[in-house]
């Protein structure tokens, strides 16, 4: 049975849609809000800001996070900044321009109305964060400072040194603490959602099954609405810039229970990460995109220089200017080093595939600050990027003030996610998804400094309004009982799954299998995909999944602090999610944004979209672990914006 998708995009002019919608949707009175319970899973920017705002409104909120404190969520690692259309720089920025850059950056695979709303509320986010005491960078006059980011020709990114995500999250976490202190938010730390529970009769979301990660106890929590804010699933690749515990499992349980999963193949490969070394590595480290403000990306023009670099007989700083190929400036004169991430990543791959990779693995390019230091002086550069330079030196033992950084693309963000309508509700009534966990705003590629914007837009300014439209129908509903057959069945299934994992006692550790999955994904579902590679991936992942369920070794017990069990549960879902990503990529016979099918490119090697056939969001419905999922298409109609071939050249 295919989904009947209703995106609930309001009618009217683009700029009026959100206002019209807010005026049309229902609200819940303060007295009734007090009777309603909401569960928020995940406490990053989306989850924390939503939970705090919902609590301020008067709802009873329960929050769940897998770490020991809500403040640890991976939003904290975002370095560069957050976009807003304030036009404080007087460089002709506007809500429309931010909208246009975002929808173009996403290669026209996002909804016009959602993206416009995102741009529209962006300014409120900055005001909110300033009022919370987020120490944004300031100019000498005391006013807010900005920097530039990829995919934009204006300077609209607000930042707090290289720790913007941290500061914004601490702001949202502080708002959450304020509400925890009032007693309207109850915090469940070191708890992991293992299933979503749907009402037997209505099919509405009515709660979750969670595991207390300290005691192993399986708990039931009921609510009138459930919000998934658990981030992205980039860790399916094993090596990514995501935190070690970041996972796709909460979203995947929703998918298994009937929520549509949209555009799973849209993965962002970030161009500026520290290259992989050796085989013992556990994760990859991002170097902020803000570095591309001042850094210039290059490889040598001559292959003999490349060889000398690899042998260590030549230092990069010894290569003369005329022997350097600043390939982004060469190929994209208008945007230069500030092209969007997908374009920069593919260009790096193109040079490395041609044999110009500058380290021993052949998978690295230079990010050089020589020019910037000459123009601005070392002090200025140190002030702008000091902590990032220090971090680079810690990891690589190379001083980036003297020699250029080596960088290479790495998996960073997933634009795909749970399908949501304009209200951020999934195909399951009462179940919402916000932030990176949903699919809505970034199309096929996310611009830098827009993840923080979307997380906070959803949490502070969208969900608190739209959830009222659904909950207004629940004001007569009693507290959700958790002694129902639906909860019984969900708890039983979770316990059986855990028992099964612990009983296999095979020969391969969770990490061994996860690493293997990561290699399959990177080689076949990575930066360049082909029909052959994707078909190969589908077969290999299915085989690996069978092996996992037959031969994994999970030590420890169910009723204790057991990290291996946590990892095994997450990997079980990655082993299905990886296949879903490959199937989606196989279906999408075009190149767009971060999804590059080698069969579909222009003569110059740029992504070639096929708007007639593929201007839709691919929404997948779960049919079983080893069954092919069913596709439903949400057509993306462009009423207001002309879909052009993306051009960053002039």
């Amino acid at each position: 049975m295919a989904f009947k998708l209703d995106s609930k995009i309001p009618a009217g002019e683009l700029a009026q849609k959100w206002s019209n919608h807010k005026a049309a949707i229902k609200v819940v009175s303060p007295a009734n809000k007090r009777k309603l319970d909401i569960i928020v899973v995940g406490t990053g920017l989306g989850g924390a800001s939503a939970a705090a705002s919902l609590s301020e409104l008067g709802y009873n909120v329960k929050i769940f996070c897998i770490q020991d404190s809500p403040r640890r969520a991976h939003s904290i690692a975002a370095q560069g900044g957050i976009n807003a259309a304030k036009n404080y720089q007087n460089d002709n920025d506007s809500v429309y321009r931010l909208y246009y850059d975002t929808i173009k950056g996403g290669d026209y695979r996002a909804r016009e109305a959602n993206v416009y709303r995102l741009a529209e509320v962006s300014n409120l986010i900055i005001d909110q964060c300033v009022a919370q005491g987020v120490p944004f960078a300031r100019e000498y006059g005391g006013l807010l400072a900005n920097r530039s980011f990829g995919g934009a020709q204006v300077s609209r990114t607000f930042y707090a040194r290289g720790q913007t995500g941290q500061q914004l999250l601490l702001g949202a976490y502080a708002a959450l603490n304020k509400e925890i202190a009032t007693g309207h938010v109850t915090s469940y730390t070191r708890h992991e959602m293992l299933d979503i529970v749907l009402d037997d009769k209505t099919g509405e979301a009515c709660g979750i099954i969670a595991r207390n990660l300290v005691t192993g106890e399986i708990e039931r929590h009921g609510a009138h609405a459930v919000v998934i804010a658990t981030g992205g699933y980039g860790n399916v690749f094993f090596l990514s810039t995501n935190a070690m515990a970041s996972n796709g499992s909460a979203a995947f349980q929703c998918y298994r229970k009937g929520a549509g999963f949209a555009n799973p193949c849209f993965t962002q490969i970030h161009p500026t990460c520290i290259p992989v070394h050796g085989t013992q590595q556990s994760k990859l480290t991002l170097m902020s995109e803000s570095l591309r403000n001042d850094g210039r990306i290059w490889v040598p023009k001559k292959l003999e220089d490349v060889e000398a670099l690899r042998k260590g007989t030549l230092k990069p700083s010894e290569i003369a200017e005329e022997d350097r190929d600043y390939y982004l400036e060469r190929r994209y004169p208008a945007f230069g080093n500030l092209v969007p991430r997908d374009v920069a990543s593919r260009a790096a791959k193109e040079r490395c595939d041609a044999g110009y990779g500058v380290n021993e693995t052949g998978l690295a390019v230079f990010l050089d600050f020589k020019t910037a230091i000459a123009v601005h002086g070392k002090e200025v550069i140190e002030k702008r990027y000091g902590n990032l330079f220090d971090m680079y030196k810690e990891i690589t033992d190379v001083n980036p003030y003297d020699e250029p950084m080596q960088i290479f693309p790495a998996v960073h963000y997933t634009m795909g996610g749970i399908w949501v309508d304009y209200n951020l509700m999934t195909t399951i009534p009462g179940l919402y998804a916000i932030g990176e966990a949903n699919f809505s705003d970034h199309g096929a590629n996310r611009l830098g400094a827009s993840a923080l914007m979307q997380g906070l837009a959803d949490g502070y300014f969208v969900l608190p309004y739209t959830i009222g439209d659904y909950l207004s129908k629940k004001i007569q509903a009693p507290k959700v009982a958790t002694d129902t057959p639906a909860f019984d069945a969900a708890e039983k299934a979770v316990k059986e799954k855990i028992a099964k994992l612990l009983s296999i006692n095979g020969s391969r550790s969770v990490d061994d299998i996860h690493r293997q999955l990561g290699l399959i994904m990177w080689d076949n579902v990575g930066m360049a995909r082909t029909k052959e590679s994707l078909e190969k991936a589908i077969v290999e992942i299915a085989a690996l999944r069978k092996e996992f369920w037959k031969d994994v070794k999970v030590v420890g017990t169910a009723d204790s602090f057991n990290v291996e069990l946590e990892k095994a549960l997450r990997l079980a879902d990655f082993l299905e999610l990886g296949e879903l990503m490959a199937r989606d990529a196989l279906n999408r016979e075009e190149s767009c944004g971060g999804h590059f099918r080698s069969e579909h490119q222009t003569a110059e090697g740029e992504a070639l979209r096929h708007d007639v056939e593929f201007a839709y969001a691919a929404v997948w419905e779960y049919k079983g672990m080893d069954e092919a999922p069913e596709l439903t298409k949400e057509d993306l109609t462009y009423e207001f914006t002309h879909r052009a071939q993306r051009n960053y050249k002039d």
Binding site: I126, P135, F136, Y460, S509, D511
Partner: protein, 247 residues
């Protein structure tokens, strides 16, 4: 490289713990400290033994999840980094490395090297915020802030809440942690409004939770992975005293 590890093993909060010795071999010098523990754990799993539990997440020094006393130092021998940012090239080949959890009465052990730091959340819940509602705020540029004040606020706001300060302090004091939040907000006009209430409430909560007093030894500053200065403790004391004088 090869190492001998002496690691604290403790089944749960109620059990008695002890050191156990392990060997790790063929470790690359570019491997991070936590990757070295991953390798040990993977070996243990293959042998059917339970791996060593330790906290970690972002592995880039910002989430504050990782901890560990390594050879007697919070976050290991290096200055101004978290445990996840330590690399094995900083140790001598063949060295014996001792790894313990935070030792602080306010941070009870959950298992092996994992401790409960919920007390820090509770301190912040007592007042570590500005009481503004969503959407009830002025324009961002309506509140000019001298650049130097914003920078100083940011210095304090860099605290990752890892617990190294209290775990290092011989008195088990959380003053550096409390000071970082109080000072960060005290340097901004937005934070001034509730300054007095905040300082009193957070200090009272810290005392209630069993953290000790500050005797200005400066150990917290020396071990802080973010290099937070004890000058912020001076500002906290000033905030606290001024608030108390008005009572």
């Amino acid at each position: 490289m090869n190492f001998t590890l002496k690691i604290w093993r403790q089944r749960d909060a109620h059990s008695k713990g002890e050191f156990k010795e392990y060997k790790v071999t063929d470790i690359s010098s570019d491997t991070s400290f936590l990757e070295m523990l991953d390798i040990l754990n993977n070996d243990l799993v293959h042998k059917g033994e339970e791996p060593v539990a330790f906290d970690h997440d972002c592995r880039e020094g910002i989430c504050g999840m990782c901890s560990l006393h390594i050879d007697g130092h919070a976050h290991g021998p290096s200055q101004a980094v978290t445990t996840c940012q330590i690399y094995m090239r900083q140790f001598k080949d063949g060295a014996t490395i001792t790894i313990e959890p935070w030792r602080s009465a306010a941070f009870p052990v959950i298992r092996d090297l994992v401790v409960n730091r919920n007390a820090y959340d509770q301190i912040l819940q007592a007042g570590g915020y500005v009481s503004v509602r969503t959407n009830s705020v002025p324009d961002g540029n309506a509140i000019p802030i001298p650049q130097a004040d914003a920078e100083e606020s940011m210095d304090a706001a860099a605290c990752v809440g890892c617990g190294a300060c209290a775990a290092t302090c011989k008195n088990g004091s959380a003053m550096l942690f409390v000071a970082a939040r109080v000072s960060s907000l005290a340097k901004l006009p937005q934070g001034r409004v509730e300054g007095a209430r905040r300082a009193k409430a957070m200090v009272a909560k810290m005392d209630e939770l069993g953290f000790g007093n500050c005797t200005n030894t400066g150990a917290c500053q020396a071990e802080c992975p973010k290099g937070i200065s004890i000058a912020h403790i001076a500002r906290l004391n000033r905030e606290f005293l001024c608030a108390k004088l008005k009572d």
